[in-house]
C-alpha cells in the first residue's frame, strides 16, 4: 500500500518537475527576446 502510494506521489513529483522546467524555459525565452531588443537599441544608440 505504501509503495503504491509512493509510486503515485513520485509520478506527481516527476510531472511537477517537468512543469517547472517548462516554466523556466518559457521565462528564458521571454528574457532572451528582451535581450535581443537590447541589442537593437544599442545599434540605435550608436
Amino acid at each position: 500500500g505504501q509503495r503504491d502510494e509512493n509510486r503515485r506521489l513520485a509520478q506527481a513529483v516527476l510531472a511537477g518537475r517537468e512543469r517547472i522546467r517548462a516554466l523556466q524555459e518559457r521565462i528564458q525565452a521571454r528574457r532572451d527576446a528582451w535581450q535581443a531588443l537590447s541589442q537593437d537599441q544599442r545599434e540605435l544608440l550608436t
Partner: protein, 114 residues
C-alpha cells in the same frame, strides 16, 4: 529643397515623439512593477528537508528522491532574470534620452530655420 527637407524633419520628429511616448510608458510600467514582482513570495521559501541519502537508497523511489532539484536555487535564479531585465530597461532609457536630445536639437534647428 529646403522646404521638403524641413517637412521631412517635422514628419520624423512627430513620428519619433509618438514612438518615444510608447517607450516611456513601457519604462514607467516597468518601474512600477519590477520591484514588487522581483521580491520573492513569503511562501516561496519552503524549508527544504535535508535529504540524507543513507535512508532512501533502499526505498522504491530512491531514483526520484536522489534526483531532486534545488527549488531554492530555481526561485532565487529568478533574480538573475530581473537583473538582466533591469539592464535592458536601463539601456532603453539611455537610448530614449539620447533620442529625445537629438529630437530637441532638431526641433531647435527647425525653429532657427523658420
Amino acid at each position: 529643397g529646403m522646404e521638403a527637407a524641413v517637412g521631412e524633419m517635422k514628419d520624423y520628429i512627430t513620428r519619433f515623439s509618438s514612438e518615444c511616448r510608447a517607450w516611456d510608458q513601457l519604462l514607467l510600467h516597468y518601474e512600477d512593477t519590477a520591484k514588487e514582482v522581483s521580491r520573492p513570495r513569503e511562501d516561496a521559501q519552503v524549508a527544504a528537508d535535508q535529504v540524507d541519502p543513507a535512508w532512501y537508497l533502499e526505498t522504491s523511489q530512491s531514483e526520484v528522491l536522489s534526483s531532486k532539484p534545488d527549488y531554492g536555487q530555481i526561485v532565487s535564479g529568478q533574480g538573475q532574470v530581473f537583473d538582466c531585465m533591469e539592464l535592458v530597461m536601463d539601456e532603453l532609457q539611455v537610448s530614449m534620452r539620447q533620442l529625445k536630445a537629438f529630437m530637441d536639437d532638431s526641433t531647435r534647428l527647425l525653429q532657427k530655420m523658420s
